[in-house]
């Protein structure tokens, strides 16, 4: 495998899974692509009468879609940790004796640990997505590296990779909580309702074949909205259950109860207030991680006190955002996904103000603008931050994958990007000399809020000026690191010794390679 050093000083491969790769060239030097990919043209005569596209089994549908060895098959994480469709899909592919499938989901969840056996037996060749839980451990253990690199993309980057033809999807398998026999579908109704289907947009538009899988097949024509229109769907499969409702959306989301998280969240909200960010018509990006959820909650309290009304909040939405919408504290929720039952119910009833968005309109840098740049305050969690404000939300400091990057890179387009993370986690120093894995270049990050104080990126002199004389604990990032280093004198702050074998890559949002994931052989 050949490597070069990219513009961020990271060693990255020049070829990924058989495709030529372009090293990261800078945040604002996007890879130039002239034309979108060219999806197939299909003929109506092969699809009969609307309503008559239902197959008796996923196997039959896959056969109709010419499934074969070595193809790229995609799924989506709308069902989150309750997803049963990924499992059903690979059980079926395995039974059919198909081998070497490239799995290209929009994200994986711990429920997909059960698919490890299909990696091991060669049904799945490799994965291009985030890899949580056991799967992540297995990948960073080097077990997939000889077949393929894990490719971690942002939500916007995944859209773009498909749109631009960097990734060609042979068969997209799209779970729907309601569908009719023509393939019209949505995620709003049915026993496994999850909200909307934005993450499948690129796949539905560009894949060679599209299969809708539902456990709530209704008469054609189903009621609206048709989040997917049947003319884009090759086959519809009825199954017993697409997912476990309790794990798809939790019944309720709740604020964290750890004191440290609440302290950081409160500090973040106070900073926004003192920096003048909480003003009429402002907007922010929420989320479902406890610390960020709590920060949004405190911001909402400040809005109440000051009588400020916001323009919109970007979700992942929860009952907290829904409450803000319904009491008029914000005008819109522009929603990427839904994290609890209250959010799903809101999307059903507040259809004019609670708007489904997708990675093209929200996040993709290869469009005519996107929502991300319209967000005033982006609140993001992280695993590590370094003295140059580079951020790693993906791996532990030992190099093992901790989570996914979701829309993280895309949210960096916001006007004030705030990282909420403690300065240490147990014996590990979070504020590093260099982040173990580079996901967000420091120039895109404005503020770090920690339990030891608030650090403002020196490039944001305006923010430094805005909070001058404030009673908030504004510090230099180096000061915070020094403080922690004194507490943990033996704990490292630079990139640890990792294996020599590349096991994956992290793409910048424009499909250039920003960093490499290396084998973590010592870890178990």
């Amino acid at each position: 495998m050949k490597f070069v050093e990219n513009a961020a000083g990271r060693k990255v491969p020049v070829e990924i899974n058989g495709r030529k790769a372009i090293p990261f060239q800078g945040v604002d030097v996007p890879k130039v692509v002239n034309r979108k990919a060219t999806p197939p043209v299909r003929q109506k005569n092969n699809y009969g009468i609307p309503g008559e596209k239902v197959f008796h089994s996923l196997k039959d549908a896959l056969e109709f879609c010419n499934v074969g060895n070595g193809q790229t098959v995609s799924t989506h994480h709308h069902l989150r940790n309750g997803d049963k469709v990924g499992g059903l899909l690979f059980d079926t592919i395995h039974e059919m004796g198909i081998k070497d499938v490239v799995w290209f989901p929009s994200a994986t969840f711990p429920c997909h640990d059960e698919l490890l056996k299909y990696f091991e037996d060669g049904t799945i060749h490799h994965l291009e997505a985030s890899a949580k839980g056991e799967l992540g451990k297995w990948v960073t253990g080097g077990h997939m590296a000889d077949r393929g690199l894990l490719v971690v993309r942002s939500h916007g980057g995944r859209y773009l990779a498909i749109q631009n033809g960097d990734m060609k999807v042979d068969i997209a398998v799209v779970a729907a909580s309601t569908a009719d026999g023509f393939g019209n579908a949505n995620g709003l109704y049915g026993p496994a309702a999850f909200g909307h289907m934005g993450f499948a947009k690129a796949d539905v538009e560009f894949a060679e074949y599209v299969i809708v899988v539902t456990d709530n097949l209704v008469d054609f024509p189903m009621e609206g909205p048709w989040q997917i229109e049947g003319w884009q769907v090759d086959a519809v499969v009825k199954v017993d259950s697409i997912g476990d409702p309790d794990k798809i959306v939790s019944g309720t989301t709740k604020l964290p109860d750890e004191e440290q998280a609440l302290y950081v969240a409160d500090l973040a909200a106070k900073f926004c207030d003192e920096a003048g960010l909480i003003k009429q018509g402002f907007s922010f990006q929420g989320g479902a991680s406890g610390m960020v959820l709590a920060a949004a909650h405190y911001i909402s309290e400040i809005m109440d006190k000051k009588g400020v009304k916001g323009s919109f909040a970007r979700g992942g939405s929860t009952k907290y955002l829904v409450d803000m919408l319904e009491k008029g504290q914000i005008g819109r929720i522009l929603d990427g996904q839904l994290f609890d039952a209250a959010a799903v119910e809101s999307m059903r009833k507040n259809h004019r103000t609670h708007i489904c968005t997708n990675p093209a309109v929200s996040y993709s840098p290869h469009g005519k603008g996107r929502l991300a740049e319209g967000v005033d305050i982006a609140l993001l969690g992280a695993m590590e931050i370094d003295l140059d404000y580079n951020v790693n939300p993906l791996t532990f400091s030992n190099g093992r994958i901790a989570g996914a990057i979701g829309g993280f890179q895309n949210c960096l387009g916001g006007k004030c990007v705030m990282i909420l993370a403690p300065a240490r986690r147990k014996e590990n120093i979070i504020v590093r000399d260099r982040v173990t894995t580079l996901v967000a270049p420091g120039e895109t990050v404005d503020v770090w809020v920690s339990d030891r104080g608030i650090a403002i990126n020196p490039k944001r002199q305006d923010l430094l000026d805005a909070v001058k004389g404030s009673s908030l604990p504004i510090k230099k990032i180096e000061e915070i690191q020094d403080e922690i280093k004194k507490e943990l004198p033996d704990s490292p702050t630079d990139i640890p010794k990792l294996g020599d074998k590349a096991v994956g890559v992290v793409m910048w949002e424009d499909e250039t390679v920003i960093d490499t994931l290396w084998e973590v052989p010592a870890f178990e």
Copy 2:
């Protein structure tokens, strides 16, 4: 100009406006196209922050979109005869000194007669669309033929021509009754509300540049639905008025009061009843022409009497369809366009049952099925029908253009296609030996209902059987022709002598050439 005889026996050109043309090969021998067109990839960095895409004038927006001589510019007929955007566009293009623009609207209306001056002075090179009123007269008079042929396409065929790259749109100019400064837009709200924007779908997806023109610019992010998402829009222009509300949608639609039209409509409804077509869960395609409107009304009365509930009606919708929806007589309106204010209001409030459709999902034969094939009864008007059941809804019997073909060809996908037309109009015999202009091949037409009786296509033995012994005036089509011929012995029934110069073509829905429009020099 070189011509060949196509599979329907019509003489058609082998090249159209510089593009190679494929002659019609048969209804079910669709032209094979493998891949869709490749739209440009744009970079977010050229579009700034959402909400900041507004241009002060259409001229500035056109310049941003690199307007130039000889380009193809599209508009849409959502504003129907109240449209002011077409006029504004070409006034601007004219002022800018741009020449030889190919105008590619989804349809023209009589309000566009004012653009004749721009054809005459070379601002507009030629038109690819239907041509009503004075424009139609001018085209069939041969005045455009030396520059370009008029290309008449069905709604589904227009989608397909863009999707497949047969027609490349340089700049799409899309009128919206509400938009925000990011380019999110819909047709549901604002002083010139018209419903939805389905006819612009192909243009927005595939054009090089997209300009949204609105008279109701609201704060970003506007309320939903976002019928167009801003990430697909290059520029937003605020104008004083996009259209005259009274002419966009009439305040009320009403049934015709001519006895003959009501008789034909009643007969059509009775035929549907006796043939067993009005049954639980059936569907039909409505429309706004008086005779078809009346037929739908009579069908609704029969449904009432029999206690039958329909699955859906396809619009163009009117208050008659809305009444049926709201009293539960039909479950859904699947709407292509809206003809009156009641329909617009219904689309706002019945958002789960009154569904916006577009030519891709409804009509295009190059998709994975379409709604048209799901319609049990398609009710269509016509200018002529012939003894082989070929139909001409486009030209008078003298060859002059009378109207547009809209979704006519696409509706032929319905299970029972019924033509409603009188057997004579004044001195003109409507039932011909051969239609003057071939739009619908006879094999796609099932029944002709006229004021002189009902003729059933012999290929539909099932329908002939179903009404055997009925008291309805079922006749052979030849009998009806004989009856009229006796009344009008001097009136011709075959194709008249037309000019030698081709002035236009009619495309079959798959972008093959089904017939030629010839100069009508004698006509004034």
